[in-house]
């Protein structure tokens, strides 16, 4: 039978449930996600490194775990899953394994039977908090104490932890059976054959898939790759990926971004953490949000196109919009939920970055145009650079 488990928060609240993953203890920042679908993608998203993800959707696991085509990284990344109910049975033609088995196999603890709505309300009011998920027997107070001593997210450079060890090439697009279909129409392939360097701060594979699907030759390099080594690859553009942790703590990432921005004319794009690093490199400031944005239903206004994008979000930090004053950055996107700055572009250079996740995975597809903008910039930039060189 299943083992009892508890989730103890640093602020003293303890939630009871049963273990439904690996029977291990873990300390993590507790955050919640409101997506209805996509637990596999969330679980394997490196941006969730160090976080226990509470799902507001009341049940996980119904469609099991599909193949690697849905994975966002080699292995699960989130520290733990918290849910109201876990389905033991998986029912889908795509399923290869039930979710609890997958969690156990990868050593990811999970707890079910939790009053997740009360937990979410608590997080909403108190903000993201540290917690300990335990299958042990020790008293509640001891668990709470352990949670208090867990490493806080602020000041933490997790990107270095999740970044790849060595460079690699990425060629795989989307599975034909699951090709994102529709909103964006046929993908823009004007940059076919152009080389793109992706700086891996915890990159989600859907970002790489989007670039490969547009015909780019994708090189992924670790955080810490010197600027020269990147330029040696003669990229048509560079993308700073998403990733976990406090952007302000990723000093060498900010340095790198500064160096890339100095290569005038080189398209530099950023997603999520990459966006924050670009903003910091230009002189803007980041702030820790109360409980952040995590879900697939967030409305963002595209200030340039005048449209509303329903988009995938996963961020606990944000760029302070007032800190854009005096920088060459312009706001391009804003959250309609709470006004958070969600995207910027450079006044003169082919530099764009967004806080949310245009690659979706999981989430809606309408922001995919971000990648089309990128490949369009890739298509014009090399000629200009050649002229200058």
């Amino acid at each position: 039978m299943t083992r009892a488990a508890r989730l103890a928060l640093a602020d003293g609240r303890v939630f009871h449930g049963r273990s439904c993953g690996a029977p291990l203890d873990v300390a993590a920042e507790v955050v919640f996600n409101t997506s209805h679908t996509g637990y596999q993608e969330v679980l394997t998203d490196p941006s969730y490194r160090g976080q226990a993800v509470v799902f507001t959707v009341p049940i996980l696991g119904i469609y099991g775990v599909a193949g690697a085509g849905d994975d966002q990284a080699e292995a699960p990344q989130a520290a733990a899953l918290v849910c109201r109910e876990m389905s033991r049975r998986a029912s889908s033609w795509r399923a290869q394994e039930p979710l609890p088995a997958f969690l156990a196999r990868h050593g990811v603890p999970a707890i079910e039977g939790v009053d997740t709505r009360s937990l979410v309300r608590h997080l909403r009011e108190r903000g993201a908090v540290l917690g300990v998920l335990s299958v042990g027997e020790e008293p509640d107070a001891e668990l709470v104490e352990r949670a208090r001593h867990a490493p806080p997210m602020r000041g933490r450079d997790l990107a270095s932890e999740v970044s790849c060890a060595t460079p690699y090439e990425w060629t795989e697009g989307f599975d034909t059976a699951t090709t994102p279909w529709g909103t964006a129409g046929p993908v823009e392939r004007c940059a076919a054959g152009r080389r793109v360097v992706v700086v891996d701060l915890g990159v989600k594979r859907d970002i790489l898939r989007h670039l490969a699907a547009r015909g780019c030759e994708v090189s992924v390099v670790p955080l810490g790759t010197p600027l020269e080594a990147i330029l040696e690859r003669d990229p048509a553009g560079v993308l700073l990926s998403n990733g976990p942790g406090d952007p302000a703590a990723v000093g060498r990432g900010i340095e790198l971004a500064r160096g890339l921005l100095a290569c005038e004319g080189l398209p530099v794009y950023g997603v999520c953490l990459g966006y924050q690093l670009i903003s910091l490199a230009i002189g803007a400031k980041t702030i820790k949000m109360k409980f952040g944005h995590r879900g697939g239903n967030h409305p963002v206004r595209d200030l340039e196109r005048g449209k509303v994008l329903i988009s995938a979000h996963n961020h606990g930090f944000a760029v302070d919009p007032s800190s854009l004053a005096g920088t060459p950055l312009l706001a391009t996107h804003e959250s309609l939920f709470d006004g958070t700055l969600e995207g910027v572009r450079h006044r003169e250079l082919p530099v764009r970055a967004v806080q949310f996740h245009p690659e979706a995975g999981p989430g809606p597809h309408e922001a995919e145009t971000f990648f089309d903008d990128f490949v369009r910039d890739l298509a014009v930039a090399p000629a200009e650079r050649a002229r200058e060189g």
Binding site: H36, T37, G38, E41, W93, V120, R124, I310, P362
Partner: protein
């Protein structure tokens, strides 16, 4: 883009009467639309023939036309009111069809009126199967392979390509009327023949079968700036092959991974864009092959629908309101989410619970029809439930249906383990053929040891859902093991979290429900209440919209400190209980809110206005069972509960609620019981000196024959426990009685059969009245039935004021009603039914509650009876409310019922004591004939002003039909009759007169004439001879199928004659309620 400033005045077209496939959801959407438009300062003109709707309350629109929902009436209204635009996307298919007619006939152009929300091209692209398919293929998606055909020959050719099974879908019909699945060539021919007739364009689509594929619905909204959102996704538990309205469904979709989900989401938007829905709500349906994910787009509705009402209730997102605002020019981001008030409407609701909807069927009302579920919708209502798990939500939905089921089995209706347990073979057949009880059969099959995999194969239901039932079955076994043991709080809590009711626990554990309840009380085991907030608790919400769950904390009740009143709603629509009661509940809530009370609505019907989150101060979406209602009452601690407005459902709870210490407002449960209990009521009548038909009670066939002999035939017989005349019948002789009693005792073994004298040729009268604690009684209205006694009062046409009853007799009825109300101690509403024969008045029954006719009378007189009654119930007298005497209605108002015959081929088309109508319309005019004509038109049975009338009547009506035939002949009709009637008419000089042979006597017979379109009207009073009766039945069924008005009683035929006379004098006018009622 803000409000389009050129819009000043908009006509909203309502959906007309409640029919299968188009019910209260369009009152809900229409009412929201009216409110939304008026908030913007627009003048709203409304047309709808359904008097029981909230939207037709004179306060809801600026100008309200209770007129037939036809293009002719719409034209008259447009001519008078000169609106800038027509909004046709909120009144269902009826409204869209009228809009298309208005466009095609040049009315829109003539008056310079534009369509809002969807233009004719869009409607046609979405509705015309062939064009829809082209559009879908044009954007790289697939729809099932198909061909549109216009004849049987073409259809057979198409079938060669497509194979069998094949789906036959008539174009432009509501809820798939006339369509179905053909498994063999004979069925194919029959369906095509039927479909060609049902389609107004004589077109059917022959389509590749995707039976057994998974079915999903996406509720999408688009604005003019091309922002699109999915409000809700719905997954059908019943796979393709069962109409979505007849399927058990869940929200959100559960078995899709994000990759698949996003693909469907993209596809929904692409379809919307390609069809060209500029703005508003739409619904897109998909089939997905469970084996490989192959996708087919099945259909899309470019308007709000039953599913969007469900989606709104499931998420808290008001689709109709938003769609109405978008039609005015707003974009999604310019509108606020009413629930959070801090976020915009341009987002997709996140939900942290599971919603289950289960359709309700009333097949037993339609003897002879086949209860197999197909692609043509047959359900008459639906219940929705919310839980934190599928199991909880599913079991709550089952008990919300009010079919005597308290969850999945383990209740009094559960025959598992009894001698009536079905065999495995029976179970297999129940699994393989879609039917209303299929999920109960799944449980029994699993209990019987049929492997889950086989259940999946037989039903085509996704293995995950079968797995959930497997879990319940496993738990049920554990529960039964604890039978007779001391109650274990952990086990009880576990059961509660799986959705089990106290009754089920009691059954499994060998206790009484009261014991379980007491035990829970002692251990503090109580439900928790959570809110529906559109955002899964991400933001603070102020929604007053709750559901119960177990083993969690509750979200807090926002309290104002005002005194609280709980109003119990009517639950799912069914025949005999529907929108009329919902209307009364809403009125009570409105009145009491105005008076400073906090109102709390409990209901389980997702279609209605009463379950809109802003109708009451708080809404609890809960089953209307004793346990669930008490749970809410214990949390809210109201000063009292109103049970007399929601129909029989809450009334049945009144004694038990009172016994549990709940204060019942208004008429006491004892008084209700005195009126409902036959013997007690007989005493009441005796005390006030009123007559009733002779009667008797029988427990055996012999007793029955004896009682009938004493009373004299014909007699009315029924089981002792009824709602809406269920199981009632008029029998004319000994043989019929014997047959009935043998069948009836099968239906209800514990209850005797009641036998009443049947008053042949009597006139039936309905009275609705108000009475207060001071003993004041005010008559709301006296309704004279047009059909004679014996036709259920819910089915009969009736007139207000009475059109033949002498004033003195009406006074006697008034006086009798008042005496009865005082004797019973009525506080609030009462309905009394009388039969008037010659000079005598007989009381048939008295119901101390709101009746089906309350909204009709309220609309016809302008006096809101239910609002007044609610105030009486909380202690105000009628005098204090200024309600001193009966109001004379300013116009003649005729109520006409509509029937679902076309949904139930094979069932007998005949009015009787068993109620079968689904809804009603009102016709209002200065003269009775005109009002009757409008009611006919509103019910879709337009009267012809010339042509041939087929007349065949039973012997006792032959004298009375002479006048009718003469009158029709003088109006230019040719009279066609069979021998018996012909002879009588000929003798009385009726002409032109034509003789036709009876069926099986010669050709062409009456059926041939009807098929050939030679008959414009049928007058047929049913005879008692079995053979003649069968032939007449064929004639009536065919007339109904062809849309030819068919009158089965002499008074109704006479009324029709006066209406035809009026129609020949010129077109009918239109009048706004505001002009009539508030001059």
């Amino acid at each position: 883009m803000p409000l389009d400033p050129s819009l000043k005045k908009v006509l909203i077209i309502g959906a007309g009467p409640i029919v299968i496939g188009q019910a209260c959801e369009f009152d809900y959407s229409g009412t929201q639309a009216c409110k939304a438009l008026r908030e913007e300062g627009l003048e709203v003109i409304l047309m709808n023939s359904n008097p029981a709707t909230i939207m037709t309350d004179p306060e809801v629109a600026d100008r309200t036309y209770v007129e037939p929902v036809t293009w002719e009436a719409a034209r008259a209204i447009i001519e008078r009111e000169r609106p800038c635009a027509v909004l046709p996307t909120l009144g269902g298919q009826t409204s869209l069809n009228v809009a298309i007619d208005l466009a095609r006939r040049g009315v829109l152009e003539e008056f310079g009126v534009r369509l809002l929300g969807a233009d004719v091209d869009v409607i046609e692209r979405a509705e015309d199967r062939e064009r829809f398919k082209e559009v879908v293929e044009g954007i790289g998606l697939e729809s099932p392979r198909s061909r549109a055909v216009h004849s049987l020959a073409e259809a057979l050719e198409a079938q060669q390509e497509i194979g069998l099974p094949a789906i036959v879908r008539p174009s432009f019909t509501l809820g798939g009327t006339g369509g179905g699945v053909a498994y063999n060539i004979d069925e194919f021919r029959a369906l095509v023949d039927n479909g060609l007739r049902a389609s107004p364009t004589h077109e059917v689509l022959v389509e590749e079968s995707v039976i057994g594929w998974k079915e999903f619905e996406f509720e999408v909204v688009r604005d003019r700036a091309d922002n699109c959102i999915v409000v809700c996704t719905i997954e059908n538990v019943d796979p393709m092959g069962v109409h979505t309205g007849d399927s058990v469904t869940v929200a959100p979709a559960l078995t899709l991974s994000d990759r698949e989900f996003q693909r469907l989401r993209d596809a929904s938007f692409a379809v919307l864009r390609a069809i060209g829905v500029e703005c508003g709500g739409s619904n897109v349906q998909f089939a997905v092959d469970p084996a490989n994910g192959a996708l087919r787009v099945i259909e899309m509705n470019p308007r709000v629908s039953r599913s969007s009402a469900l989606a709104s209730k499931a998420t808290g997102f008001p689709i109709a309101r938003v769609a109405a605002k978008l039609a005015l020019g707003y974009t999604l981001d310019e509108l606020a989410n009413d629930i959070t008030r801090s976020t915009p409407a341009s987002f997709e609701p996140a939900i942290d619970y599971i919603v289950t909807k289960i359709p309700r069927f009333d097949f037993e009302k339609f003897a002879g029809c086949d209860p197999t579920l197909t692609t043509s919708m047959k359900s008459v209502g639906e219940a929705m439930a919310i839980g934190r798990t599928f199991k909880e939500s599913f079991q709550k939905a089952l008990r919300s249906l009010e079919r005597g089921r308290m969850g999945l089995g383990l209740d009094r209706r559960d025959d598992w383990g009894t001698e009536r347990s079905p065999s495995r073979a029976e179970l297999r057949s129940r699994l393989a053929t879609p039917n209303p009880g299929r999920l109960f059969a799944v449980r029994q099959a699993l209990l019987a040891g049929i492997p889950a995999a086989e259940v999946v194969d037989l039903t085509g239901i996704d293995p995950w859902f079968i797995g959930e039932i497997e879990d319940l079955v496993a738990f049920e076994r554990r529960l039964k093991e604890a039978h007779g043991e001391a109650l274990d709080p952990a086990l009880v809590l576990e059961a509660k979290r799986l959705g089990y009711s106290d009754v089920q626990l009691a059954t499994a554990l060998g206790r009484s429900p009261e014991e379980v309840r007491r035990f829970r009380g002692e251990r503090g085991l109580r439900p928790a209440y959570r809110t529906v907030d559109t955002c899964a608790a991400e933001f603070a919400a102020r929604t007053p919209y709750f559901y119960s769950t177990w083993g969690e904390d509750s979200d807090e009740v926002p309290s104002s400190g005002k005194p609280k009143v709980v109003i119990l709603g009517g639950g799912p629509n069914r025949i005999g209980q529907g929108i009329e009661f919902d209307c009364c509940c809403i009125h009570a809530s409105m009145a009491l809110r105005e008076d400073g009370y906090e109102t709390i609505m409990i209901n389980s019907n997702p279609e209605t206005v009463s379950t809109d989150y802003d109708t009451s101060d708080r809404l609890y979406f809960e089953p209307l069972t004793l346990e669930d209602v008490l749970g809410v009452i214990e949390r809210e601690r109201p000063l009292g509960v109103i049970v007399q407005l929601g129909g029989q459902t809450p009334l049945n709870l009144s004694l038990a609620l009172q016994a549990a210490g709940v204060n019942i407002l208004g008429t006491s449960p004892e008084a209700i019981h005195r009126a409902e209990d036959r013997e007690a009521f007989a005493e009441v009548l005796e005390r006030v000196g009123l007559a009733r038909p002779a009667d008797g009670t029988a427990r055996t066939v012999e007793e029955a024959l004896e009682v009938a002999r004493r009373i004299g035939y014909p007699v009315m017989v029924r089981p002792s426990y009824v709602l809406g005349g269920r199981g009632m019948s008029v029998v004319h002789d000994r043989e019929q009685l014997e047959a009935y009693v043998r069948a009836a005792t099968e239906i209800s073994p514990d209850h005797p059969v009641l036998i009443d004298q049947f008053l042949d040729d009597a006139i039936e009268v309905d009275v609705d009245l108000l009475a207060d604690a001071a003993g004041a009684v005010v008559i709301g209205g006296i309704l004279e039935h047009i059909e004679e006694a014996g036709v259920h009062s819910g089915d009969a046409s009736c007139a207000l004021p009475p059109y033949t009853l002498p004033p003195l007799l009406c006074d006697r009825i008034r006086e009798a009603s008042a005496r009865l109300a005082r004797e019973l101690g009525v506080r609030g509403l009462m309905n009394v039914q009388y039969a008037v024969k010659e000079e005598s008045i007989y009381v048939l029954e008295a119901n101390p509650r709101a009746s089906r006719t309350v909204p009709f009378i309220s609309k016809a007189t302008g006096r809101p009876l239910a609002k007044i009654a609610a105030r009486v119930m909380v202690g105000k007298t009628l005098r204090e409310q200024g309600v001193l005497e009966e109001l004379a209605p300013p116009r003649f108002a005729v109520k006409k019922s509509v029937f679902p015959w076309n949904r139930f081929p094979g069932c007998e088309v005949l009015l009787g004591p068993e109620m079968r109508s689904t809804g009603e319309v009102m016709g209002m005019d200065r003269a009775f004939g005109a009002a009757f004509a409008k009611a006919q038109a509103g019910a879709g049975e337009d009267l012809a002003t010339g042509g041939a009338v087929f007349v065949t009547v039973r012997d006792q009506d032959k004298q009375q039909v002479i006048y009718i035939a003469k009158k029709l002949a003088s109006l230019g009709f040719e009279i066609v009759a069979t021998r018996g009637t012909y002879t009588v008419l000929e003798r009385h000089g009726v002409e032109p007169l034509r003789l036709v042979p009876k069926i099986h006597v010669g050709r062409p017979n009456p059926l041939d004439l009807i098929r050939n379109g030679e008959i414009a009207l049928v007058v047929n009073t049913p005879s008692q001879q079995p053979i003649a009766r069968r032939h007449e039945q064929e004639i009536r069924a065919l007339s109904v199928a062809r849309g030819i008005p068919c009158f089965t009683t002499i008074p109704a035929a006479a009324a029709a004659v006066s209406a035809i006379e009026r129609l020949r004098a010129g077109p009918l006018g239109v009048e706004a309620l505001q002009d009539v009622l508030l001059p």
